[in-house]
Symmetry: C2
Subunit: 315 residues, 2 copies
């Protein structure tokens, strides 16, 4: 299925002119990645109908949208590298990132709207509402950077908006386009939303505790930039006031050698059993996701198998 | 009709949180303006059906989209002021302009998709294709800034994409949502596209030859920044090689006092009968628009009257 998605992306057949607009879009879409969202959409659809090609445009539409958000987020975060390659605003410039990014969002709508299904209008509505929530999540993420009193609940709600909502949207869209029963569509959404949360927490976990030999980027990036990931929340919940202040001060330091800062924060995490707490939380969310899925009116095995491969990842 | 549009925009009822996302959107939408695009949509719709309120969301959706493009364009052009007020990236920051701008595009889709009409899907498709063309127009505009050999035809095609296409889209969408005959929908598009071209050429004209007492901004802005407007193309078409080089060199100069640069370029325009040539071109386009409209199956008087008020503007 993944290779079918890659083929469909290669065959998108974008116009060649104006080159300055479409070349960066081809560049971003060719970077690869897990293609998680189209995989979820197609797997959910395939629970009901065998003709996946029929909704392939919606699948790569969601992927195009996701890459639009990465493009604009990278510009906002001033990130230089994505998947080992220069980001669009680095390789071209800021204005290119804005305009090609805007165009990707429109191409996403074109692709989704092109699917001839009775419930395409509903799928578009779901997509729009999800994308608005993702903008809200991004805004909360920005707000949280300058706040020191963000609670774990607020953090979880932010990553739900920023990440999980789109996974829920992808799975539910697969159901909608397959004309699945309404209750199944809601189940698909709830399931993928939970998997998405688990996935994002796992992202936070791997950034510090991943295996450097398999993890794609350098270990400890979040610690270096003092990001308040789930690990910080898990640690703080296990600390007294002075330990908490010590950790937060350490995270904000920019004068330490990178290796030392990473080693010291990681040691504190281990001392407070943060890895185990984090693993338990991820496992609990994943178990909830499995329970949610049991309400489906059809055999959910292919979707569950796909979710399991996601959770076994080490990068 | 204009006051109904303003009321609908005020009643949009955007969420209050996160404030950093929605406050800039309210700010931009409350800035006013001619509301040209919703006016065209509603006037076109009203030729077929009396219940304009039914499609009001599409009208303010198109206006929200238009303001999204202004927000991102102002950021890309690094413009400080819009309609006498600070632009979003000046009042807030670049990231706010990107993210609130993205959200406005999504709200536009939400609004258009919310209209319960048999041809809403077609309207969305038209909107998406138009918005993609507008991105292409913006990219050509960027490309042209660093090219000295742009032809008049290329310039006209660029402003067609950047401006006229959305006017065509608005008028045709009014027809589509009123379930007008297919031929009428095409006529509405062709009519508004021509009016849009005339309107944009008039913009170029007024920027240099407008009455300073009524024109909203300072006269001569385009000359000062050396913009290759239609006036430059009209002048160059009437010049020999050395006159052309003299004009282009003068336009690129940044060492002259503003008043002197404006006075010298304006004198050259007058010497080569540029105002008359420009007026004639605008009048011809407007006449073409009128002829186009005569193919409509219904009485087009309200639409024609509205177009006339647009062409009589002095700002």
């Amino acid at each position: 299925m993944l290779s079918k998605i890659e083929t469909a992306i290669r065959r998108l057949n974008l116009p060649s002119q104006p080159e300055g607009l479409y070349e960066p879009i081809e560049y971003v879409l060719s970077m690869g990645g897990k293609r998680l969202r189209p995989m979820l959409l197609l797997t959910a659809y395939s629970l009901y109908r065998p003709d996946c090609e029929r909704v392939m445009n919606a699948a790569i539409g969601i992927e195009t949208y996701h890459n639009h958000t990465l493009l604009h987020d990278d510009l906002m975060d001033n990130a230089d590298v994505r998947r080992g390659m220069a980001t669009v605003h680095k390789k071209w410039n800021d204005n290119t990132a804005i305009l090609s990014g805007d165009t990707m969002l429109l191409i996403a709508y074109r692709l989704i709207n092109s699917v001839a299904a009775p419930r395409t209008g509903e799928a578009l509505e779901l997509f729009t509402e999800s994308a608005i929530k993702i903008c809200e999540g991004q805004q909360y993420d920005v707000n949280f950077e300058t706040r020191s009193d963000v609670s774990e609940a607020e953090y979880i709600e932010m990553i739900r908006l920023k990440t999980s909502v789109l996974l829920g949207c992808a799975a539910k869209m697969g159901g909608l386009l397959a004309d699945a029963p309404a209750a199944d569509c809601e189940t698909l959404y709830a399931f993928a939303e939970k998997v998405g949360l688990a996935f994002q927490l796992q992202d936070d976990y791997l950034d510090t505790f991943g295996d450097p030999a398999v993890f794609g980027k350098k270990i400890g990036g979040d610690i270096l930039c003092g990001k308040k990931t789930f690990l910080v929340h898990a640690a703080v919940a296990r600390m007294n006031v002075s330990e908490r202040d010590e950790l937060l001060t350490l995270l904000n330091r920019t004068d330490l050698p990178a290796e030392e800062k990473i080693a010291r924060v990681t040691a504190i995490y281990r001392q407070h059993q943060v890895p185990a707490a984090c693993e338990a939380r991820i496992a609990a969310l994943f178990e909830e996701a499995e329970k949610t899925l049991s309400a489906l009116s059809v055999d959910a095995a292919p979707l569950w198998k796909y979710a399991e491969t996601l959770m076994k990842r080490e990068k």
